[in-house]
């Protein structure tokens, strides 16, 4: 058997619907015979009648409705058609979902699935990675699974958690990533993972960029360089301890992210390591991000905009020379 990242997301939702009658799925085109723009809910409306519901094109109300249901004990999963459209729901997510527990003591267990990140030809409005916006504000947990296994177990955990979770699933990984089987358990949420062991440099990454980083590490391995790669798994909370422990071993840090540079995950990672692990660093930390422009439509421009394993290799070499 072989299962893709996308199928893992569908399986996780099927399991959730099966095991917990408080769970329902709410989003544009998730229901009917259709099962979502990416088919992440294919077949679920039929298997779980009345619990996989199409919504109007109303992201604000989709999230507001989920919040109300969650406060009344349900466990809604909201699918945004693309992460980029969650900008319309941002107010409900940040100011409503993110503040309810702290203000009132009532928890708000909603899970918002954001099909994120760039793919060829998708352009400025169907390619965004929005984890930094959601992580900046208090009250939310932001997950960024990079593997089929994590896509599965983290989504199940997202729904189990009593707090609002923004679950960033990467569209590039949907079909590109396969696993043999689904695990019954994963690492605890909030814990990063050493995806590759090394001793010369630590690359900290997450989501699709984990794979570019691993490829870069492979390439550098051919030159005898041993790169350690950390997969953050969730960017909020961010597992500083695991990152610091890795930097303690390697003395060097390169943070890699697909979102825009200013204030992204990479800035936060470097700020933490610089503040808490300054003495561990043998050289200046560095970061590789997308460019600070909208995400281009044309594949030639897109591949120059997005961090590639080559760009990571180049930056890593530079860092190792210091």
């Amino acid at each position: 058997m072989s299962i893709t990242y996308l199928e893992a997301i569908r399986e996780a939702q099927a399991k959730l619907l099966r095991d917990d009658k408080r769970v329902f799925i709410y989003g544009q085109d998730v229901g009917g015979t259709f099962g979502g723009a990416f088919k992440a809910t294919k077949g679920l409306a039929k298997e779980f009648p009345g619990r996989v519901l199409n919504t109007p094109i109303s992201e604000d109300a989709m999230v507001g409705t989920a919040i109300g249901a969650a406060m009344e004990g349900m466990r809604p999963i909201v699918e945004m058609q693309f992460a980029d459209f969650s900008s319309i729901a941002l107010n409900q997510v940040l100011n409503n979902a993110g503040t309810i527990f702290w203000r009132t003591g009532i928890s708000c267990p909603i899970t918002i699935r954001l099909p994120s990140g760039g793919t060829k030809g998708s352009g400025p409005f169907h390619s965004q990675s929005m984890e930094a916006l959601y992580s900046h504000y208090p009250g939310l947990i932001v997950m960024t699974p990079a593997t089929v296994e994590d896509a599965y177990t983290m989504l199940i955990e997202a729904v189990a958690i009593d707090d609002p979770v923004v679950y960033c699933e990467h569209k590039y990984l949907y079909y590109h990533l396969k696993a043999d089987r689904l695990p019954s358990e994963g690492l605890p949420v909030g814990q990063a993972r050493i995806a590759r062991v090394g001793r010369d440099l630590t690359i900290v990454s997450y989501s699709a960029m984990l794979h570019e980083s691993l490829t870069a590490a492979e390439k550098l391995a051919r030159e005898g360089l041993e790169i350690e790669v950390v997969d953050l798994r969730s960017v909020k909370p961010l597992d500083t301890a695991t990152v610091l422990a890795s930097v303690a071993r390697t003395g060097r840090l390169l943070a890699v992210g697909e979102s825009f540079p200013w204030g992204g995950v990479t800035a936060e990672v470097i700020a933490r390591v610089a503040a808490e692990g300054f003495h561990l660093l043998d050289a200046a930390p560095a970061r590789v991000n997308a460019k600070d422009t909208p995400i281009p439509y044309h594949p030639n421009l897109w591949s120059a905009h997005r961090p590639s394993s080559d760009a990571i290799v180049a930056k890593a070499r530079q860092l190792l020379r210091e």
């Binding site: 329902f24 919504t55 109007p56 109303s58 992201e59 604000d60 109300a61 989709m62 999230v63 507001g64 409705t65 989920a66 919040i67 109300g68 249901a69 969650a70 406060m71 009344e72 004990g73 349900m74 809604p76 107010n91 409900q92 100011n95 409503n96 993110g98 503040t99 309810i100 527990f101 702290w102 203000r103 009132t104 009532i106 928890s107 992580s135 208090p138 009250g139 939310l140 947990i141 958690i161 009593d162 707090d163 949420v189 909030g190 909020k236 909370p237 961010l238 500083t240 936060e268 933490r272 503040a275």
Partner: protein, 359 residues
Amino acid sequence: MIENFLGSTADVGYNRPMLQTARPKEKPGIAGPPHERYFDAFGWMLLARTFEEKLASLYRGGRITGGVYVGKGQEAVSVACGIFLRKGDVFAPLIRDQAGRSAFGEPLVDVARTYLGSRQGPMRGRDGNIHRGRPREGQLAMISHLGAMISVVVGSLMAKRWRGEKGFIGLTTIGEGGMQTGSTHEGLNIAAVEQVPLVVVATNNHFAYSTPNEREFACQALVDRALGYGFEGYEVDGTDLAACLDVIGSAVKRARAGRPPQLVVASILRLAGHGEHDDFSYVTEDIRKQPFARDCLQLAERFITENKLVDAETLRAWRDQAAQEVEQAFSTAQKEPVPEGTEEDWCAISTRVLCDQAE
């Protein structure tokens, strides 16, 4: 035929929304109150007015931190929003709903606590004044962004339906200004799509802060929006307590009976500043003389007196009781300790192990 009086059982079939304005019933010398909840409602109005007058004076005395927003002139509409709700219902009030909140069961001392910043208040000093709520008791804690609570109520009602609860409704309020937000639109539309038992009471008090109607919208009547969402729509004179009880009470009844979502649009003038910091000098003399500018509480009192529904003694007793309850609430709250930063754990989520450690 729609029958406005709550007493009547003749509820109606589904047809296009009827734009129906309930007018004060002026039957001179009638024997009883014009609505079975009239005296109750009057009591809540009196309590709200008394409380808010005290609050405003405390504000002027520099005793309140943050803004004070009162519902002066809107008590009739607001009380009618709260008084027909029962346990299991969901109420999402806004800034001018003291009367409705009280009528739905909010203890006055919790209001005083919120304004005075007692740590025993429902928001524990974390949030203030009009944002207070008691979600466990069905009163949601609004966020400021106008319109955002409508879809939240929709979701609560869907959850109740799924759980198999029966007979519940949701009621939420909005100003004519708030009706222009995208969030309101999406919330109203999704309510109609989900066919939840919802009543939305919109109060056109002719101003959004300082902005008059002509810079807010350009339709002839806001109630016409009901049509475009598949709501049933009604207008009401918000200065007339009996009319408010009739029209809003009927809407509540229709929602409970499983009819489409209900929109009631009340017309009124805000008889105070937007907040107590505001002198509302932008409200011209001319506007203050309009029929919609009458004071609902005075009108109700006059109606009671002129029709000799109760004697002067009783009225005075009611007033005294209100004053006493208000005194009591503030004096209790005043004695309570305030929150301290050192006692906060500064974790915004309930799953404490997942608190992020960024500084």
